[in-house]
């Protein structure tokens, strides 16, 4: 059972693919994913802003309580990422958990986030990986 109907996948594709945040024209703050009104000042006047694809890992957790469909990736690292203008929570990939540290530089990557069985839709989105040096 998935909550990601074809319509929901379609409605959210732009912000999922391109890391598009909403920015309030009243107070200037950005938030991701885009909501209908500014979570800070409540204004309904929002426009779009593309987020930077590089940021810092403020914190993370290594999750062992993985739902069955995600077992191939367990344990899964969940991170709190600061992209400067906005922060978000996302999976951190391509890393052995022992090699992670608070404060490392991370970059956005486009990955499969969930798959609806063998016949349903693939939902893509942005995850983060430690930034390679050089």
């Amino acid at each position: 059972m998935t909550g990601w109907s074809p319509a929901r996948v379609w409605r959210s594709r732009i912000h999922r693919y391109r890391l598009i945040a909403a920015r309030c024209t009243s107070c200037g703050r950005a938030h991701y994913p885009p909501s209908n009104a500014c979570p800070y000042c409540g204004s309904r006047s929002l426009d779009n802003v593309e987020l930077p694809r590089v940021g810092r890992l403020l914190s993370y957790s290594v999750v062992y309580t993985t739902p069955f469909e995600d077992k191939s990736r367990a344990p899964i690292v969940i991170g709190l990422i600061d992209l400067g203008v906005a922060k978000l929570i996302a999976e951190v990939v391509d890393v052995t958990p022992e090699d992670l540290e608070v404060g490392v530089s991370v970059e956005a990557v486009f990955r499969r986030v969930s798959v609806d069985g063998s016949t349903g839709l693939i939902v893509y989105g942005v995850k983060f990986r430690p930034r390679r040096e050089g």
């Binding site: 979570p39 957790s61 999750v63 309580t65 739902p67 069955f68 969940i78 929570i89």
Partner: protein
């Protein structure tokens, strides 16, 4: 004015032999019997996972009919993990507005029927499916990263944060309704299997079923256990990532400020708060200024929140960690426990002479927060 005139608790456990209707029936029967009457104008049902797990809609009506209250007015309240306290708020509002004179609040949820990996999936839906829960956060992913952030920002070590679960287990040993009634040491917490590092199994609420019920009246004809002086609430950010200060639970701070506007907190002798994970308990103490920022874990370790420690007694029931956390029902347990404390009738660790108590219930990392002040009537 709103008063609690009856309570009914089911021990938190894996009740394979009872469904949600059976559990609700047991708690409701006890509450109605203890209130000396089966008259109910309104039933308010609090549940959260049932909508996903049964799955069942119009839950309050089906529960009402199945427990002998067909015909009563019914409404279901869902606010994730805070459903129970939200339901108590609803009941208080109903009696104070004059719409009802006797309200039965029933909180019920089952967490142990399905295999744990399915429970993890359902529990992740307590978080925002558009942001955090878009990813595979499992059980504890967000709390785990808050724990690591806390340790990093305040330079508090893992062992200091392990005194909380040890205290909860110690408190629950005397509580006949608690799910886990054995002692643990802080060292054992560190050795336990990881759930969402740095959280271990012993930092995490156990998966158990339960039901709790209250009778709430505006003008009790007989004595009441306690008065519900005020309940307040606030909605919070969709994700902690949106907060400028993720280690403060903004919605709880707002709810608390609203509470003190509504009523005077003459004394806070006992607190039942929402320690779904060790870190949440710590952050709530700091958000409520019962401890300084970065100091709550240390204060717990030093016994400040234990009986005779100088501070309010926190979670004498054993809290979500040891009494248990049947999600939608938990808030009702907490209110029942504080009411019994204030009446001098708590069957477990009793806070002697308690005059006022706080109940804190929130969902996830604070998408909504509820706080209640109860006053003794003795």
């Amino acid at each position: 004015m709103a008063y609690i005139t009856g309570v009914g608790l089911v021990n938190v456990d894996r009740h394979y032999d009872k469904g949600i209707r059976g559990l609700a029936f047991e708690a409701a029967s006890k509450a109605l019997d203890s209130s000396m009457s089966s008259e109910v104008d309104f039933i308010v049902v609090a549940s959260s996972l049932s909508y996903l797990q049964e799955p069942q809609l119009d839950l309050a009506s089906y529960i009402a009919s199945s427990i002998g209250l067909r015909g009563a007015r019914s409404i279901a309240v869902e606010s994730g993990e805070a459903s129970g306290l939200a339901a108590v708020m609803t009941a208080k509002t109903l009696v104070e507005s004059g719409v009802a004179s006797r309200v039965l609040v029933v909180g019920v949820d089952k967490v142990s029927d399905h295999p744990s990996w399915r429970a993890y999936k359902h529990l992740s839906m307590l978080y925002d499916t558009e942001s955090d829960a878009f990813y595979s956060i499992g059980l504890g992913g967000v709390a785990g990263l808050l724990m690591r952030l806390y340790m990093h920002v305040y330079k508090v070590d893992r062992l200091t944060l392990a005194y909380w679960p040890a205290l909860m287990h110690s408190n629950a040993k005397k509580n006949p309704y608690a799910m886990l009634r054995f002692s643990i040491t802080p060292e054992k917490v560190l050795e336990a299997p990881p759930v969402a590092e740095p959280l271990t199994l012993l930092d995490t609420f156990p998966l158990g079923d339960g039901a709790a019920a209250l009778v709430v009246e505006g003008s009790p004809s007989r004595g009441a256990l306690a008065e519900i002086a005020a309940v307040e609430s606030a909605t919070g950010y969709q994700s902690v990532a949106l907060s400028d200060d993720p280690l403060k639970i903004e919605s709880l701070e707002v709810a608390y400020m609203r509470l003190v506007e509504r009523t005077t907190l003459e004394s806070i002798d006992v607190v039942e708060l929402h320690d779904s994970f060790t870190i949440m308990g710590v952050l709530e103490l700091e958000t409520l200024r019962l401890a300084e920022r970065g100091k709550a874990a240390e204060a717990v370790a030093q016994g400040y929140f234990s009986v005779g420690g100088g501070g309010p007694v926190v979670n004498p029931s054993g809290g979500l960690k040891a009494r248990g956390h049947p999600i939608g029902a938990t808030g009702v347990y907490q209110v029942a426990e504080v009411a019994l404390q204030l009446a001098g009738e708590f069957p477990g660790l009793q806070v002697e002479g308690a005059k006022g108590g706080l109940v804190v219930s929130l969902n996830a990392a604070g998408s909504s927060s509820y706080i209640a002040y109860l006053r003794s009537v003795r």
